[in-house]
Each structure stands twice: as C-alpha cells, then as structure tokens.
Point group: C2
Chain length 208, copies 2
C-alpha cells in the first residue's frame, strides 16, 4: 500500500474545494493518480470498466487456497475452518482482447531507481515464456509507488533482464533508466484508471 499522494503540476499545490474540486474535468491529464489504492484494486477497477464498455474480458485469477476442513452447518453456507495459501503456478491476470490472449502480472516497488527482480517468482516467468511461445501477449504492469509512475513492461524486456541476473556480474534489479528507455509509461486516467490497453494496442501494432 502506498500513502495518499497528490500531484502538484508546476509545483503548485492542488486546491480542493472542501474536498470536492469544482472543475473535476479540467485536471484529467495529471491528477487521477494513485490515491492510496493498491495497484491490484486499480487494475481490477480498470478491468471492470473494460468489461462494462465491452472492450476486453480480463479477470484476476482467485488466490489459490488449499482447503483442509469444512463445516456444513444446517441452513447455512459451508464454512471453511482450516485452509492455507498456496503458490500460484501462473500469473494473476489473463483474458481476451481483440482476439489476442493477454497474460500479465502486476507488481509494485517502493524503490526509486530500480526494480528488484526478486519481486518475480521463477514460475511466473516460466508461465509467461510458455504463454508467449503459444502466441499470447504477456507483460507486467509495474508501479514505482514512491514516484507514482506506472510502466508496462513487455515480456521480452523482462525475460532479457531476468535471464541476465544468472550470468556473471548479472544485475539483481532492472534500472529505472532502462525501463524508461525501452517501455511505455501508462498515464493515469479517470475511468479506466490504468488504461493499459492503449499500450497493448502498440504491442499489437508491432506484432503485425
């Protein structure tokens, strides 16, 4: 979770009118930033909006849970009384957009200059490599929470950085400068909040 954070364009403080801006339309370009909401929640809202607008069908997968004990009380819903979190063998999000299979992961860091690769698990990278091989479009939505910047990292870029860490003198993190250079910044929107499909459109253009 990152704290409430407001952008100040041109260094000027953002004026609230008792908490309600009287010109909510005007600030659209730079002020719909993350207001303390988790990246996951924002992406879920984004996907819901894409579904409502009939643009794409993308869902977060449920967290895998191993159920050990269940009570079946009369006239009530089954109650799970012992269960454990399991590790997923895939990424968190997938779905269909313009006939393409999309598959992605969402990650956040508080670092300001690089993204530590240990935020990923081996099996997530493996899953994205497999999905890419079969024609899926894979990527990561990455937020630098402190900077409040969101990037869409194409899977090929991620694979390159993931693989190099095992080489001699390999880096254990991706420098922000490399991310900026080779990937797309996602500008916050009003609704959807994180319009990542605009960037996916550019990836699709590159495939064609």
């Amino acid at each position: 979770m990152s704290p409430l954070k407001i952008h100040y364009p041109n260094g000027q403080p953002y004026h609230y009118n008792n908490g309600n801006s009287i010109h909510p339309q005007k600030e659209q370009s730079s002020n719909y930033s993350n207001r303390g909401m988790s990246l996951e929640k924002e992406i879920n809202l984004t996907n819901k909006q894409y579904l409502t607008d009939n643009i794409a069908v993308i869902h977060k997968k449920p967290t895998p849970i191993q159920v050990v004990k269940v009570d079946y009380p009369k006239r009530e819903a089954a109650k799970i009384t012992e269960a454990y979190y399991r590790r997923s063998s895939t990424t968190d999000y997938n779905g269909v957009y313009k006939g393409y299979y999309l598959d992605f992961e969402a990650k956040e860091t508080k670092n300001k200059t690089s993204f530590p690769l240990n935020n990923f698990h081996e099996h997530q990278i493996k899953h994205m490599k497999q999905s890419t091989e079969h024609g899926g479009i894979c990527f990561t939505i990455l937020r630098f929470a402190t900077l409040d910047e969101i990037y869409l990292l194409h899977a090929d870029f991620l694979f390159k950085w993931w693989d190099q860490q095992f080489e001699e003198k390999g880096r254990k993190s991706i420098p922000l400068s490399a991310i900026k250079k080779e990937n797309f910044l996602i500008e916050y929107g009003f609704n959807p909040r994180i319009p990542y499909l605009k960037i996916v459109d550019q990836l699709i253009e590159n495939i064609k």
Copy 2:
C-alpha cells in the same frame, strides 16, 4: 463421480492379466475410458500433459474463496480459520493455444438422454458470450457419466439452446440426439486422456 466402467469392444469382455494388460498399446482406441476419476481431474491431467508436451498453456482457475479470518502462528504458514466459497464470475478453464484464447467449462450429468441446462449458471454463459465476442474460442466439455461419452459443445450451439429455454415451450435440457448431431465426440486417449484440442483444431479450421 461415475463408477469404474470398462468398454467391451464387439461385446467381448476385456481380459486383464492380473490387473495388468500385457498388451497395453493395443487397446488404446477404446479402453482408456473413465475409470472412476472425476472429469475435472482428467482435464487437469490432460492440461498438464499439453503443457509438458509444449502444445498449449491451459489452467484451471482456483476456486474463489472469501477469507474472513487468518491466524499467523510464529514460524508457521498463515492459517485461514474462517472462509467461504464464492461463486466464480467466469468459467473454470482458460489459456492459449496456437495464438487463440480458449475458454471453457467442464460439466457432467448422470442423465442418459439429455443434458439439463440448469447445470450452467447465467454468469458462465454471459462470460462465454463476452469472450466469444472478443475473438476467444469458447466451449464446454460435457460428459454423460452413465454412458461414458464425452462431447465438446461449441459455444454457439450452447448459446442457442440456452436462449431457447426462455421462449414459450422452451426445453429445459438439450437432447443427446441434438448434441450428437451437431457436436464432436471426444475419444478417450492414453495421454492426454481427453484430447480435446483435436476438436479445437477443427473449430479453428472453421474460423479460417
């Protein structure tokens, strides 16, 4: 669950050699039928095989569970002590094959002459309609447990039957005869056990 059931080609009983056939290759076409395993388990094994053979990346989604209470014992894994099953808003299976987004549900019935439509939920049909609209290939793998026959029902066929039930004199089930006429029987295999992608290949041919 359906009981252990063995096919008898030409009316001849199937001879075991102390439970181990000495010619396991020969009976491949008709004898790898369902041996008491749930359809879900068989499809999971099938998907695992497809993944191992680098043919497709298809996974079952975890069951959605709402976690209410969690204990965090020292030096031990977090233990969920109160949770409830939630209804999924999608189908159970999805993934990527030959660049196509696949999305499907697996269903079983003990009926012998028709498949009751109340085995589906409205939201599953809605999800498949949405996914189809965006270029996904959607279907249902349907087992008549008593007959030990498995069919792949293309989504368009299912939508047609789903929608007609709300019309005057609409049927509440799909007759097996209609299923046989307009859909594909999936022959049991050894490995994968339920080679449904063979049928998907035919669906893809029809799209082209």
